[in-house]
């Protein structure tokens, strides 16, 4: 049965794309083939609207063992014969419809990307965006997403070590759920997602194939609406127990050397894994779909080809070594079924009970092969004019700073995320050092080596909305700053690019500008992009979400003694702020959520200034001249000081600068500033080592557990901590 244009467009293909398929095949495709192209050429799999710009990002570096896009995830050298594999991915649309399963399978999917390369996942991170926290639907989404992330990660046995969560009304209908996994592998023991060697058998391993998630990649490539709930079968269902067994079996199988290649089945399931592996290995495959273990009877071939059932892998094994592989999967009670073999012919031929039902060149389906590439138009968004109208002089200075501070630290974007993170197992694996000594980035040890990894996810999307180029630079810079303040050397990033509809020229402007800013910052910090994920169509009737290019960054510490934590350590230590204070409240939580001004420019930021700051902080930490380091981010200087004080229950005395607006000094979010504490005997040495970097002596750490600002008591740390810790759970109750 040949497909019609109407069917093709219904599947999400454009008319010119349907014509292109006809050209490739030299005939009109049948329905099954059309369905395969529709998912493989969706934005989710093909990056057709983004790849031109993604290629401008720095993708090379001394420490990169695999180039961006070459494998399922990035691989960097951390030394001592170890590599680190990491990637971030979105699961926004499924989570909007079915938050528990959507988030759970997002976590499961990203871990599979890591262990399909032969690495053992050792840490999870995430980045979440929801609408206003007092909205009942938001509460439902938060509870579902958090439970889903916890359910999958806790059972799978990988700790969730860090994350970020913001609440803004632009995410009301379209929340963002980005999950990151970090794994480790011995260099040289990785597995490639490739397939070659005529006659080598192809196996499907793991869960059986059902009708869940059919067309999920296409679902992710359209705007979201109230009718999206009808797409429920597009949401996959996760089984972390099956994935845990699959992980152990795969890692046990790799050292046998019987494998040619392996790829997990995520978006577009069997279609994607067979085509990408074949295209990479420059071979074809014959696949017998009737041999695929299924969950329900009478599944149609196209349903099997497009199913996104979770916890499945495609593996290609050296002929004659099938039994070694079979034995390991039998041990773990996992399906391992031969469904086909590798061919010299470059086509993928799918059979059902002996009947050829699809016959397409592998190369024509994939990114870098036949998948289309588009250059989209972009125009400067109209809203930027309104942003530029903002004038700080129109904002009256508050009379009661303490009251403002007290409200500020209870805002959901600033208050403790305890209600969320206590539902995640953050300690399994006994590698996460944050529990008893928090730092700006998560510091995770790697069993079997002295090396320690630093990792973080960052993106203040309000800054990106206000200035896409600068905002994306800030996201990279903040990630690097978090790693530097924790004693690490930033190594590389993965990105999750969440934007609205790319056919909207204003949205595409945000995308192009953000990519350029990100590239510039990544070049400055020598942190190339190892890969990631593009998620367009994050918009609803309310319009697009804030442009949210989430950065996942990984850094390395030579050993645990290099770790720096954020908490004040000893009464009497001197507190300094490194960097420059400005009369700047732009885009701050204070301005946005307390004053109520929704449009203002991005906060002060200069890339060179940031770079010098980070170099100086790294030097001070390596010279052991500081006892704590904590960067100033949301909530400004006061929130930063409070967090340093609460970590060990100590107080502080500070004085404000008479030359600055007090609200700007305490709550402004100008970038490139770090608060450190220093043993008073070492202050002279410390100041000399600053080598001209601007600094402010703020005050001292006190033993009486009190906050004193300009000689006035603001109360006890324990009371502030109680308010900070419980604010979110009160809002969610």
């Amino acid at each position: 049965m040949i497909a019609t244009l109407e069917q093709a467009t219904k599947l999400g293909l454009r008319e010119e794309e349907f014509e292109k398929i006809k050209e490739i095949l030299g005939r009109t495709p049948n329905f099954t083939e059309t369905a395969m192209y529709s998912v493989m050429w969706s934005e989710h799999c093909s990056y057709k609207n983004s790849i031109t710009w993604l290629k401008t990002l720095p993708r090379d570096g001394d420490k990169l063992l695999v180039k961006a896009g070459e494998e399922n995830a990035g691989l960097v050298d951390i030394g001592d014969g170890w590599g680190c594999v990491f990637k971030i991915e979105s699961h926004n649309h499924p989570s909007a419809i079915e938050p528990f399963q959507g988030a759970a399978t997002g976590v499961g999917g990203i871990h599979r990307d890591i262990f399909t390369m032969g690495a053992r996942p050792i840490a999870s991170l995430n980045s979440l965006r929801f609408g206003k926290v007092d909205n009942p639907k938001t509460k439902w989404l938060i509870k579902g997403v958090v439970k889903g992330i916890g359910h999958y990660g806790n059972c799978f046995g990988v700790p969730t070590v860090a994350g970020e969560v913001y609440y803004e009304s632009c995410y009301q209908t379209n929340p963002l759920v980005n999950a990151m996994s970090v794994g480790v592998v011995r260099v040289g023991e990785t597995v490639s997602a490739t397939s070659y060697g005529e006659g080598n058998p192809v196996f499907i391993v793991g869960a059986s194939t059902g009708k869940d998630g059919i067309g999920g990649a296409s679902f992710a490539s359209a705007d979201i609406s109230e009718n999206s709930a009808e797409q429920l079968p597009s949401v996959q269902v996760g089984d972390p127990f099956e994935e845990k067994k699959l992980l152990e079996a795969c890692l046990e199988m790799i050292p046998t050397g019987a494998l040619i290649g392996m790829q997990d089945m995520g978006a577009a399931g069997i279609t994607c894994s067979t085509s990408e592996m074949s295209a990479k290995g420059e071979h074809g495959m014959i696949i017998h779909l009737d041999k695929v273990p299924t969950r329900q009877a009478n599944m149609k071939p196209w349903e099997m080809l497009l199913s996104e059932s979770q916890e499945r892998m495609l593996i290609v094994v050296k002929k004659g070594r099938e039994s070694e592989v079979q034995t390991i999967f039998d041990k773990w009670d996992i399906h391992c079924v031969q469904i086909g073999e590798v061919t010299k012919d470059l086509n993928l031929k799918y059979y059902m009970n002996g009947e050829l039902i699809a016959d397409v060149p592998a190369e024509s389906l994939v990114l870098g092969g036949g998948a289309p590439i588009y250059e989209r138009q972009f125009t400067t968004p109209a809203y930027l004019a309104e942003i530029n109208k903002f004038d700080i002089n129109n904002v009256a200075q508050p009379a009661d700073l303490k009251e403002i501070a007290y409200q500020l630290i209870q805002l959901p974007n600033i208050a403790s995320k305890r209600w969320i993170y206590e539902q995640y197992d953050s300690m399994v694996g006994t590698g996460n050092t944050q529990t008893n000594e928090p730092s700006d980035a998560a510091i995770v040890r790697v069993h079997g080596t002295e090396k320690v990894l630093a990792m973080t996810t960052d993106c203040n999307s309000r800054y990106v909305y206000a200035n896409p180029r600068k905002g994306a630079m800030i996201a990279v810079s903040e990630a690097a700053r978090n790693i530097v303040c924790s004693g690490g050397l930033p190594v590389a990033i993965t990105n999750c690019l969440n934007f609205g509809n790319p056919y909207n020229p204003e949205v595409y402007y945000q995308f192009v500008e953000a990519i350029q800013g990100m590239g510039e910052a990544c070049r400055k910090f020598d942190t190339p992009v190892t890969g990631g994920n593009v998620s367009f169509y994050n918009q609803s009737e309310d319009g697009p979400v804030y442009p949210t290019p989430t950065i996942g960054m990984v850094g390395v510490l030579e050993n645990i003694n290099q770790k720096m934590s954020l908490g004040f350590k000893h009464p009497g230590d001197t507190i300094y702020m490194l960097g420059t204070n400005y009369n700047d409240i732009n885009c701050s939580e204070y301005l946005h959520h307390i004053i109520g001004e929704s449009h203002s420019p991005a906060p002060h930021f200069e890339l060179e200034e940031e770079y010098v700051l980070q170099q100086t902080v790294a030097n001070l930490i390596s010279m052991k001249l500081v006892k704590s380091a904590h960067d100033i981010s949301e909530g400004g200087l006061f929130a930063c000081m409070l967090e340093s004080a609460m970590a060990n229950g100590l107080g502080f005395n500070m004085t404000t600068d008479a030359n600055l607006r007090k609200d700007a000094m305490l709550f402004g979010e100008a970038q490139s500033r770090v608060v450190v504490s220093v043993n008073t005997d070492l202050c002279a040495l410390f100041e000399a080592e600053l080598k001209g970097l601007p600094f402010t002596k703020l005050g001292i750490v006190n033993a009486h557990k009190e906050i004193c600002v300009d000689g006035q008591s603001w109360g006890y740390i324990s009371d502030w901590k109680e308010a900070y810790d419980t604010a979110l759970e009160k809002l969610l109750a």
């Binding site: 439970k147 916890g150 359910h151 806790n154 059972c155 799978f156 046995g157 089984d239 972390p240 127990f241 099956e242 845990k244 067994k245 041990k331 773990w332 009670d333 206590e422 539902q423 995640y424 197992d425 953050s426 300690m427 399994v428 694996g429 006994t430 996460n432 050092t433 529990t435 008893n436 000594e437 040890r445 069993h447 645990i560």
Partner: protein, 230 residues
Amino acid sequence: MKFGIIVFPGSNCDRDMMHALRDDLKQEVVMLWHKDRDLSMFTKDDCIVLPGGFSYGDYLRCGALARFSPMMEQVIEFANNGGKVLGVCNGFQILCEAGLLPGVLLQNDHQKFTCKNVYIKGESTENLIGGHVGNKALRIPVAHGEGRYHADAETLKKLQDNKQIVFRYCDEHGEVHINSNPNGAINNIAGICNEGRNVFGMMPHPERATSDVLNNIDGRAILEALTHMN
């Protein structure tokens, strides 16, 4: 003296327990697969550990399926012959399901999974662990959705009279009260032993608190206790 750690499908604290015992406590450790049925290399001096995790996905009831695994028959026999057995978290649940320890572990009273540091203290010195750790408050992490210990009044009285309660949840000063209870466990019970005082079960994870790198070594004494003779 050596430790044997049983790996069930879905165990996920098995490697943590191995690292704690082998790297931090310098003990000999043997990993055991749940489908095997041979414990002949272990004597009464040795200790078998059932680690935490989600054995069999916890799909029926936590620990309910693991107890039918071939290795569990051997563990039951080993325990009945006086061998030392420790179950942590999911391991504790399995020991209760297998009848080696009395009582059950129910869903937390707040109905959420919870992972955080808590404090526990030894209740009685008349068992191997209690005798070794004394009664100071130990900071040990918990990580469970179903950790609320429960037993009927008669069983509780028996546990109390026989001094089988090993740990109770307390605050950092060692005070036992409702606010120091992370899951609603009856009488703040965090860990118990059998009448023979050779089978121990506890919800908190001592293996997560044995390393200087993690800045917490309060769990060492608990595991060290098991290297001693009963």
